[in-house]
């Protein structure tokens, strides 16, 4: 090969001026595969084996084995963005099916495939509110109990387009609608609400929030997830303009916060949507075929006038979510969602019988999780629980948050017993 190129060594091919040549070493020893597996595996296993009752935006449901099996097929795992659709029909169709799943769940028309996570999807929704002509204003309203990481990410996205993020009050874990009415005016470009909220409460007045937002010509953005949406009110029926959230509740499970950003909106905003869209078209044989479409919105065509800078996204996780949803079917999805209502209700009822614990702290319906008051300092309770092998959230001096789904339901008895010990 060197002969064909006409050089003596590979080094001769590097056109790097001497002053910037690196002649040092990284001090990273090479290891064989077995050694790396052992070494990294051992390092990972320094993490304690705790049973997690954790949620607040990052959830786990059981992921059937078939999801891994399909997703790890090299044709899916190692392929690139579908710039040559003729040779990538399989992935495109899976993404088209993922988009369709979200259309059914939300009742809105256009789902992209995908954003990084719920927080960045929320940030993109805010910038969308700036681009949409029917919307004016520079203030974005979010609930005061918004998860900190989501808020901080939204602030980051809001800065460039000159939006100001402000909060409206909440009451018992959901929106204080009267408080929101006082906070909103015509300078508001977007109102964000969640159901379930970060505390696991199901928002009961989404319709009123949507209507009020519409009255002020602002974008109504709702945070949710595909499991919750299988049971809760359809976003289209409560006036939502954009749905964001974590779609990784299907297909992924725990991944230290790695997510799959959901982004669904009305057809009116189609040309302002960020990220990838798969559309159906026809090939030269007249048969239906799929392709990335409306790419003139995107950075590689539109550059600084693109709707977003997003390029690499979470496509493989969208495939995983689609396979998981197909396995569950509508019955399985609804059953899972109903379990997400029953499990926390039952657990709260058991915890509140323990002296020193009151649960849940609000009278709302809950989904997957709820908050509990602890007479003991919450930090001490959580720390003692950790010693017993369980992890919960500390949200306040005397308040913890507990999340229970199909993946940790089997551990509820032990958890309740541990709570009796530490409360």
């Amino acid at each position: 090969m060197l002969d064909a190129v006409g050089v003596d060594s590979e080094e001769a091919l590097f056109d790097i001026p001497d002053p910037v040549r690196f002649d040092g070493t990284f001090d990273i020893p090479a290891r064989n595969e077995q050694a790396v597996r052992r070494e990294v595996g051992r390092r990972l296993d320094r993490t304690d084996d705790l049973t997690e009752f954790l949620g607040r935006g990052h959830y786990a449901h059981y992921v059937p084995s078939l999801v891994d099996d399909i997703a790890r097929r090299q044709e899916f795992l190692t392929s690139y963005t579908q710039y040559q659709p003729e040779v990538a029909q399989g992935f495109l169709q899976a993404l088209f099916e993922y988009q369709s799943l979200l259309v059914e769940l939300t009742g809105l028309d256009v789902a992209n495939c995908s954003m990084y996570d719920a927080a960045t999807a929320l940030g993109e929704a805010a910038t969308l509110s700036r681009r949409v002509r029917s919307v004016s204003g520079e203030r974005v309203l979010v609930p005061e109990n918004l998860r900190e990481g989501k808020r901080a990410t939204l602030d980051q996205y809001a800065r460039g387009p000159g939006l100001t993020v402000e909060t409206y009050p909440t009451e018992s874990g959901t929106a204080d609608v009267e408080g929101l009415r006082e906070a909103i005016d015509d300078d508001v470009s977007m109102v964000y609400a969640e159901s379930p909220t970060v505390r696991g409460a199901i928002e009961e007045r989404l319709g009123e929030i949507g209507e009020m937002t519409d009255d002020h010509d602002a974008l109504s953005v709702l945070g949710s997830d595909p499991v919750a949406l299988a049971l809760l009110e359809r976003p289209a029926d409560v006036g939502a303009d954009v749905i964001v959230g974590e779609a990784d509740v299907l297909g992924l499970g725990r991944a230290y916060g790695m997510g799959l950003g959901l982004f669904v909106t009305r057809e009116d905003y189609l040309r302002q949507v960020p990220g990838r869209l798969v559309g159906a078209g026809e090939d030269a044989s007249g048969r239906r075929a799929y392709t990335l479409t409306l790419q003139t919105r995107e950075q590689h065509i539109r550059k600084e006038r693109a709707t977003s800078n997003i390029c690499t996204n979470q496509a493989w996780l969208a495939l995983r979510a689609a396979v998981h949803a197909a396995l569950l079917g509508p019955d399985g999805l609804v059953d899972l969602a109903e379990e997400c209502v029953r499990l926390p209700r039952d657990l709260a009822a058991r915890l509140t019988e323990i002296p020193g614990i009151q649960a849940p702290v609000s009278g709302r319906h809950h989904f997957r999780e709820f908050q509990a008051h602890t007479d003991q300092p919450a930090r001490a309770v959580a720390s003692d629980l950790e010693a017993e092998g369980y992890a919960v959230h500390v949200v306040d001096e005397h308040r913890i948050q507990v999340c229970v789904t199909d993946v940790n339901a089997h551990a509820v008895n032990g958890f309740v017993a541990a709570m009796q010990e530490v409360a």
């Binding site: 990273i28 935006g57 044709e75 460039g160 916060g257 600084e304 693109a306 019955d331």
Partner: protein, 523 residues
């Protein structure tokens, strides 16, 4: 990487090429080399390819009061009042074997790195080692980020280890793993530049981007709120120093640069470029898309870059997954380290136990991801770097550059700019690059990135990476040659052996149908 959606419908303006006989070249290493062909699986039924999952079954589930009609009778007492639930849900309901078969068929209609060469310029499509998947699948990696630091020492230890590896490889002082993709890394880096200038009491409003840069650079600068100043190249395809001198000034917040640039050329004047930008008070941003060319041979930090991102799904072999997830860690100099996103991982002094812990950097820009980024992707990158070590990383860049140069020596198309490194940009000349790409699909190879950068007419941007052998490079060259020798009509009608024939992307964009629900209403 950057096909234009309209490219397919452009009419070729020229006649055919007078190329050599198919599958053979006079000066090729193996003159008798035959090209490969590829017949992709094509499932077809009732005039469509593999039917949609919704065309196989639709099941409607009633919720709430109406639930009495549903099959599972004991669910009629829904756990929620009716006014809080939807009325019904209508989705496909298939048995597991049917689901398995559906997705296996779809996978058969998709081309991956293990199917054949995948020389997409600027995308660095390497082989993805399997053992990294095994590590990412370990139960101890599947944890929640809200746990206490002391209970997730394994995760924090790997994150700290990767921060450290990447800092050494890039010549940077500190690294964050939070950005979930390359573009998110750019967003992070440019937000850091903005915060840095604001702290210095300066209102700098412009980011300079070379005309041949990735589209994300322009889009990122705009998203952060900067005006974009486009910088022309000189006739050698590199940064035009006099144009740069004219472009910089008191408004300059940063110059975003890829090195080697998108033509594969090393910016030889990098020291002078850094001096010009720094003298004007701006920062130098390194786009890590092409870092694979430099591993162990040059480091952005040594070239004067202040902030950079790494594309771990390119340089460090984590799978592209049909578009993601990737990860875009950002490295900075010590001066910028206080601005990194929160939380950042550090190691406590040994006398305090030596635990890994998360903390908020002093002047943190805040967050760019709801949690701490694409952890499982970072884990795979860490394992890859540990496997290769110094020697393997340097060997990767040596082979990547040799492979690009060898492949270039074996193809007919003109390559106007050099000396190039890990990638080259050939011109399809009178032919339409998009057509050439479509025809290459029939020869069992993925085509190069087409029609970009625009500095080369009908660009074929080609990056074979280090993973191709001489044999597969010869195969790739034979595919180029075979297409070059074919008549215009054949090339324009391609592909013919792929699952789908040429797709009319313009028509698809004109009447967007983005879900199976949209097919129902419009047919």
């Amino acid at each position: 990487m950057d096909d234009d959606a309209t490219a397919d419908d452009e009419v070729r303006a020229d006649g055919g090429r007078d190329g050599p006989a198919e599958g053979a070249r006079d000066d090729a290493a193996d003159p008798a080399r035959e090209y490969s062909t590829y017949d992709q699986a094509r499932w077809s039924q009732d005039g469509v390819y593999e039917p949609l999952v919704a065309e196989k079954d639709v099941t409607r589930v009633e919720i709430g009061d109406a639930g009495e009609e549903s099959s599972s009778g004991d669910d009629s007492d829904s756990p929620l009042p009716d006014e809080l639930t939807r009325d019904s849900l209508e989705l496909p309901g298939l048995a597991e074997p049917a689901v398995a078969r559906h997705y296996v068929r779809l996978s058969e209609m998709n081309y991956g790195v293990e199917s054949g060469p995948f020389p997409l310029g600027s995308c660095t499509m390497k082989y993805n080692p399997k053992f990294t998947e095994e590590l990412a699948g370990r139960p101890s990696a599947a944890v929640h980020p809200d746990r206490s630091d002391r209970s997730v020492q394994g995760v924090l230890g790997v994150m700290y280890g990767l921060q450290d590896y990447l800092a050494r490889i890039g010549g940077m002082d500190a690294v964050t793993l939070q950005p979930p993709a390359g573009a998110a890394g750019e967003f992070t880096g440019i937000q850091i530049a903005r915060a840095y200038h604001e702290d210095s009491g300066e209102n700098r409003t412009e980011v300079i981007v070379p005309e041949s840069a990735h589209g994300t650079n322009f889009a990122t600068a705009a998203m952060v709120g900067f005006d974009v100043v486009e910088l022309p190249s000189d006739e050698d395809g590199r940064v035009d120093l006099s144009a740069l001198r004219e472009a910089v000034g008191e408004d300059t917040a940063a110059l975003m640069l890829t090195n080697p640039n998108t033509l594969g050329l090393f910016e030889r004047d990098i020291e002078e470029i850094a001096e010009i930008v720094h003298d004007a008070g701006g920062l130098l941003y390194y786009d890590g898309a092409n870092l694979n060319a430099l591993l162990g041979r040059a480091r952005p930090g040594d070239m004067g870059f202040d902030v950079m991102h790494y594309n771990v799904h390119k340089t460090f072999a984590t799978p592209h997954g049909g578009g993601g997830p990737g990860a875009g860690p950002v490295g900075v100099t010590g001066e910028l380290a206080p601005y990194l996103p929160t939380p950042h991982v550090r190691k406590a002094p040994e006398e305090e136990g030596g635990d890994y812990e998360r903390y908020e950097p002093e002047r943190s820009i805040g967050k760019v991801h709801g949690f701490e980024g694409n952890w499982l992707v970072c884990l795979k990158a860490y394992a890859y770097i540990a496997r290769l070590g110094d020697a393997g990383l340097a060997d990767a860049s040596a082979k990547a550059v040799l492979n690009a140069n060898y492949l270039a020596s074996q193809i007919d198309y003109e390559i106007p700019y050099g000396p190039f490194h890990h990638e080259f940009v050939a011109s399809a000349g009178d032919a339409d690059a998009a057509d050439v790409a479509k025809r290459m699909l029939d020869y069992g190879v993925h085509p190069p990135t087409t029609k970009w950068p625009e500095t080369v007419p009908e660009a074929l941007m080609t990056e074979p990476t280090e993973v191709e052998s001489m044999d597969s490079l010869d195969d790739l060259a034979a595919a180029f040659s075979a297409v070059a020798s074919e008549d215009e009509a054949t090339v324009a009608a391609a592909p013919e052996r792929t699952a789908a024939r040429r797709i009319d992307q313009v028509a698809a964009a004109r009447s967007p149908r983005l879900s199976w629900q949209a097919l129902d209403t419009q047919n």
